[in-house]
């Protein structure tokens, strides 16, 4: 990290911000609303072919033979490819490349890709897919992670060194056993987190085109243009410089588009073979098979506290169901332990996490990658500990707040921290003190807290180059164009870039264009994941702006023959601070600068400082800044049906400085919605045949507007010393507390502890019955 990476947290021109902190409309908002926005599936090219995929009907099988002759003979079919055409393995994590675009030798889940067809239209391609004959030899299938842990033959990945174990991590900080011995209360329980998926509204789509001189262009609905370029280039043997990857407008991702996917390789290969543009659009069902959603986890937590509420130690054992491929699993396994060490101060901590392969759709990163599940378990346990020592659950959390400018037990540096204020906000807004524990039977309030990363200093593949890069073009027209590799997936990253340009250069938003996620045009950025974009792209943008600003100020100062310090360009006009009547427009200032310097431009970059603990894996989860969140959830439980009526969620989130409060609130509301809906409605699972239980948006229910609670976004701004103007992430952190706060609210409402997700009405009723039986034995009630 160099000087370019830190810019201070104040306004660039005097005391007040002009654009930062304003709820500017999203850069692509109107075009999405009017239908003008071009998504991948809107791309139609002359002569374009349509591709479809043949998928495995078996959960685990060896491919004996594939006969595509009938498919190839069908009129309108241009090409059929199989694993033999794309034999190079890939994967987003360089150490665990275990995927093929199309199966080589074996298939590992129902829905795994086997062959692909390019034809004149979708119907012909679909018909051809059914004509491909595949002979399989079925293998023993694994659907339960416990079994994958015990049994290693047959191996799902034969070359894997540890049977069916995908990754194992054990880390130990401080003397946990002594901590339990010194505690007044130690609780130990099992928790179950089911699977859930992203369900972005736009299904994955990719279009590829080749040129006569061998250049390939790939449009893909991805959130990681850069990694897609690297992997497609490697698998297809095309130099990266000749493969252009473009992300069109995206209809949501949430982590579900952060792996390279089969279709990107397939359309590129088919375009090369046929010489025609090729498109593949997945059905909703195929998106469910491609998955990469939240890992199911079985979690055992043991936590000790003193009677005055100090946490003494935490011990976690976690079994992670990875599904059939590695994806981000190495990181998931680390994150499941590494990200729990705030917002509370643990004097001691250890975790033991194991990810195993099963013959199910592969899991990966979903909003709050790897840390939502441990957070679920731990925050319920904290609630139980508070109850055990008769302390208010908010008070217990307050008491253990790790505070700012400190280090976690696993060596992560914490800079700014607004967690205490988050607790204050939800306590105030929910009227906690007068309502919690006092609402009528069936109604309740619950609290939970969390911490999350604003990007990580782990760049997926080790390198010394910037993690975020941006380039600015400015000319006499008055227009400034930013070229950023950052993927705007609807979270507003391009809008953040525009806000910063407006702030730094005194521009009207309409005089800024942002060209994003096009590898031919934009400097490298690692993509939209780990909540890194606002922090890293934001800092890179400030860096580029300040360099450009210097050029402009220098030129104007020379023209006016004054000291550069007197030139002010923060308000849309440029003036001499000593003689205010000497003023020109920003556009005129650009003219002066272009004449003075020749053609104008600048670049900016960002790299994280060296972070993390000094041990293997110590940099995974190390972030330049952490965001903090607290939720209070209010529910009504119908004790006759077991159904949960979600009434209110108060979400207080410390995002550092809110660069655009409307977008921050949108992320907070969306996160809280996504989290609480996972708990009540969703269940991403396979049935007894290993087949997805219902790969459609009818069978996989997401809350409609009538099922959604009132969401109250309470923005807390702890100004971070290294964030752009003090900003931090807001896209993933605000999801975490929703699920445990709901469980805790249900406890307040009806006196049952739900430790297993999802909270189905049948489960609620069973727990109520159990409680009634226990109460009748003891003759009392704990509610």
């Amino acid at each position: 990290m160099g000087a370019r990476d830190q810019h201070g947290s104040g306004a660039p021109w005097g005391d007040d911000f002009r654009a930062v902190g304003k709820s500017l409309r999203k850069i692509e908002g109107l075009s999405k609303a009017t239908g003008e926005a071009v998504y991948a599936d809107d791309i139609v090219l002359p002569g374009m072919l349509h591709a479809k995929t043949l998928r495995s009907p078996h959960a685990h099988a060896r491919i004996v033979s594939i006969d595509a002759s009938k498919a190839l003979a069908l009129e309108g079919v241009h090409a059929v490819i199989t694993g033999a055409d794309l034999p190079t393995k890939y994967g987003v994590i360089p150490w665990t490349k275990d995927e093929n675009a199309l199966a080589v030798d074996k298939v590992r889940f129902i829905g795994d890709e086997v062959a692909a067809v390019a034809a004149v239209d979708e119907d012909t391609a679909n018909a051809a897919v059914r004509l491909i004959e595949v002979e399989y030899e079925e293998l023993y299938s694994y659907f339960e992670p416990e079994e994958s842990l015990e049994r290693h033959e047959p191996a799902i990945h034969e070359k894997n060194k540890h049977g069916n174990v995908s990754k194992h991590v054990e880390l130990d900080f401080g003397d946990v056993d002594a901590a339990f011995a010194s505690a007044d209360v130690v609780l130990e329980d099992d928790f179950v987190f089911h699977g859930s998926t992203h369900a972005a509204i736009e299904p994955h789509c990719a279009v590829a085109r080749t040129s006569a001189d061998g250049l390939v262009t790939l449009w893909s609905s991805t959130q990681i243009t850069h990694y897609v370029q690297r992997e497609v280039s490697r698998v297809l043997g095309i130099p990266q410089s000749r493969l252009r990857v473009i992300q069109p407008v995206l209809g949501g991702a949430f982590g579900g588009k952060s792996d390279p996917f089969s279709l990107e390789f397939v359309v590129s290969k088919l375009a090369l073979i046929t010489g025609r543009p090729v498109k593949m659009l997945w059905t909703r069902e195929e998106v469910f098979y491609a998955h990469r959603g939240r890992h199911p986890m079985n979690l055992r937590y043991k936590t000790g506290v003193t009677k005055d509420g100090q946490i003494t130690g935490v011990d976690a054992k976690i079994l992670i169901d990875g599904g059939s491929y590695s994806s981000f699993g190495l990181v998931t396994t680390y994150y499941s332990g590494q990200l729990l060490t705030g917002p509370y101060d643990f004097p001691s901590y250890r975790f033991n996490s194991t990810r195993v392969f099963t013959n199910k759709p592969p899991c990966g990163p979903k909003r709050g990658h790897g840390s939502v599940q441990p957070r679920f378990a731990f925050e319920i346990q904290l609630d139980e500990l508070a109850e055990a020592i008769d302390m208010d659950p908010i008070e217990l959390r307050r008491k253990n707040d790790i505070g700012e400018s400190t280090k976690t037990v696993n060596g992560q540096r914490v800079t700014s921290n607004g967690f205490g204020r988050c607790l204050d906000e939800v306590e105030r807004a929910s009227e906690w003190k007068s309502r919690r524990g006092k609402l009528p039977m069936g109604a309740g309030l619950g609290v939970a807290g969390s911490m999350y990363i604003s990007g990580t200093n782990y760049p997926i593949y080790p390198n010394d180059m910037p993690q975020a890069g941006i380039q600015l073009k400015v000319d006499r027209s008055g227009l400034v164009t930013a070229f950023t590799g950052g993927n705007d997936i609807g979270q507003g990253s391009s809008s953040v870039v525009r806000t910063i340009l407006c702030e730094e250069l005194g521009l009207d938003p309409l005089d800024v264009r942002v060209v994003a996620a096009d590898t031919d045009l934009c400097p490298v950025d690692l993509g939209a994941y780990s909540s890194r974009v606002t922090f890293m792209v934001g800092n890179a943008t400030i860096d580029a702006c300040r360099k450009l600003r210097k050029l402009i100020v220098e030129a104007v100062a020379a023209k006016w023959e004054i000291d550069a310090k007197r030139v002010y360009l923060g308000t849309g006009e440029v003036f001499d601070t000593d003689e205010r009547e000497t003023k020109i427009t920003t556009r005129e200032a650009f003219e002066i600068a272009e004449a003075f310097h020749d053609t104008l431009g600048s670049t900016g970059a960002y790299n994280t400082p060296t972070l993390g603990g000094d041990y293997r894996g110590g940099s995974i989860g190390a972030s330049p800044a952490y965001s903090f969140t607290a939720h209070v959830v209010e529910v009504d439980v119908d004790t006759e049906t077991g159904m949960i009526d979600l009434k209110n969620v108060w979400v207080a989130h410390d995002c550092g400085r809110a660069l655009n409060p409307m977008l921050v609130a949108g992320q907070m509301e969306g996160s809280a919605y996504m989290g609480i809906v996972e708990a009540v409605f969703e269940n991403h699972r396979v049935n007894r045949f290993g087949l997805h239980s219902g790969p459609s948006l009818l069978d996989y229910p997401l809350a409609t507007s009538v099922d959604t609670p009132e969401l109250h976004a309470l923005i807390v701004e702890s100004i971070d010393p290294e964030g752009p103007y003090g900003g931090k992430e807001a896209g993933e952190g605000p999801l975490h507390p929703a699920l445990p706060a709901l469980s805790n609210a249900i406890f307040d409402a009806v006196g049952i502890r739900l430790r297993e997700l999802p909270f189905t009405p049948g489960r609620v009723l069973a727990a109520l019955r159990e409680k009634a039986a226990a109460d009748s034995q003891t003759g009392g009630t704990s509610c």
């Binding site: 299904p203 997805h692 009818l698 069978d699 189905t760």
Partner: protein
């Protein structure tokens, strides 16, 4: 997106033309009203059609009228949204208005028709899926296969009738006019009592063929003291098919005593389930009095014993059974408002 298989679309303007077009299709035709059930089923390929006969231009199939006897005559092409809000339906057949108002989501109710909901195909977690999905199981009894995945070794399809309005129409004693193309044997017209429409076979749970046109729905007049209700169990407050639906009917005399009572449960098996014997326990009791409350408890118990949901549609079937008495109670409460 799943592709819609190719078919010929015809848009006749009269009932006679419709039935002729269906007769000409030789069993390879299907009727398109709102399309909210047919189109997904065609995409999932467990229904196949060479010809799709659209009813959109057949105006004689629309409308809600009060008949001479004070009952209702309803054109099957009337939208569910119109049924739910029509003043005559709300007055004469409140359970039907309530049931129509709970079908799917608001957009579906604008497209979807009452006739379409009556003729809705049965549903099962093992059939309402894509061709690929079903193929990986070797298909099932309802289409293309020989095995049932709900009842192992079962030889009869147990897909569930999932039409909310069927429970209400059964409780109201509705009758249905159907029409086929005329032959030398007759004019092709027949009228069925509502319950006579259904049979206990999920593969096709109706005693008419899919190409027989429903032309009118008749609901007999209801007495002055008629009360009707419909409640629906579903996880979400909108969109979902019923996990259980209960229609209730209570006809009160002038003193407020129950003269006639009926309960019909939907989404259990291939046909609506009438729990009349249980409902009879209510006759002679007066809502608001202790004898009614005692009877309701007995009815709940009897309904629980009579209704045993299968794991056919999605959802926990043991919980669905637990919900039978709860929803019977709520359906009765809904009737009494």
């Amino acid at each position: 997106m799943l592709r819609l298989p190719k078919f010929n679309l015809v848009s006749p303007k009269s009932i006679d033309e419709v039935v002729q077009a269906l007769a000409d299709s030789k069993g390879r035709g299907r009727i398109l009203a709102g399309g909210t059930d047919l189109l997904p089923n065609l995409k999932h390929e467990f229904i196949e059609a060479d010809i799709v006969v659209s009813l959109g231009e057949v105006d004689e199939l629309r409308g809600i009228e009060v008949s001479a006897d004070g009952g209702l005559s309803i054109g099957p092409l009337t939208s569910l949204a119109d049924i739910a809000s029509n003043e005559h339906v709300l007055r004469i057949a409140p359970a039907l208005a309530q049931a129509a108002g709970t079908v799917a989501g608001p957009q579906h109710r604008i497209m979807g028709t009452i006739g379409g909901n009556v003729m809705l195909d049965t549903r099962c977690q093992w059939i309402n899926q894509s061709h690929f999905w079903r193929s990986s199981l070797g298909f099932c009894l309802k289409k293309d296969g020989t095995a049932c995945h709900v009842v192992e070794g079962g030889s009869r399809c147990v897909a569930a009738a999932s039409n909310d309005t069927a429970a209400a129409l059964a409780s109201l004693g509705a009758s249905l006019d159907f029409q086929n193309a005329p032959t030398e044997h007759g004019d092709g017209k027949r009228t069925l009592e509502f319950e006579a429409l259904f049979k206990a076979d999920g593969a096709w749970n109706k005693k008419v063929t899919p190409t027989e046109l429903l032309t009118r729905i008749h609901i007999p007049a209801t007495p002055r003291g008629h009360r009707g209700g419909y409640v629906k169990l579903r996880l979400r407050g909108s969109i979902d098919f019923p996990l259980l639906g209960v229609a209730s009917r209570l006809d009160l005399d002038e003193a407020g005593k129950i003269e006639h009572a009926d309960l019909v449960v939907i989404a259990l098996q291939a046909r609506p389930t009438r729990v009349r014997k249980a409902a009879k326990l209510l006759i002679g009791t007066t809502p608001g009095q202790a004898n009614y409350d005692t009877a309701v408890a007995q009815v709940m118990d009897a309904a629980y014993k009579q209704c045993t949901p299968l794991p056919n549609i999605p959802g926990d079937h043991e919980w669905r059974q637990e919900m039978v008495p709860v929803y019977v109670k709520r359906a009765l409460a809904a009737a009494l408002g």
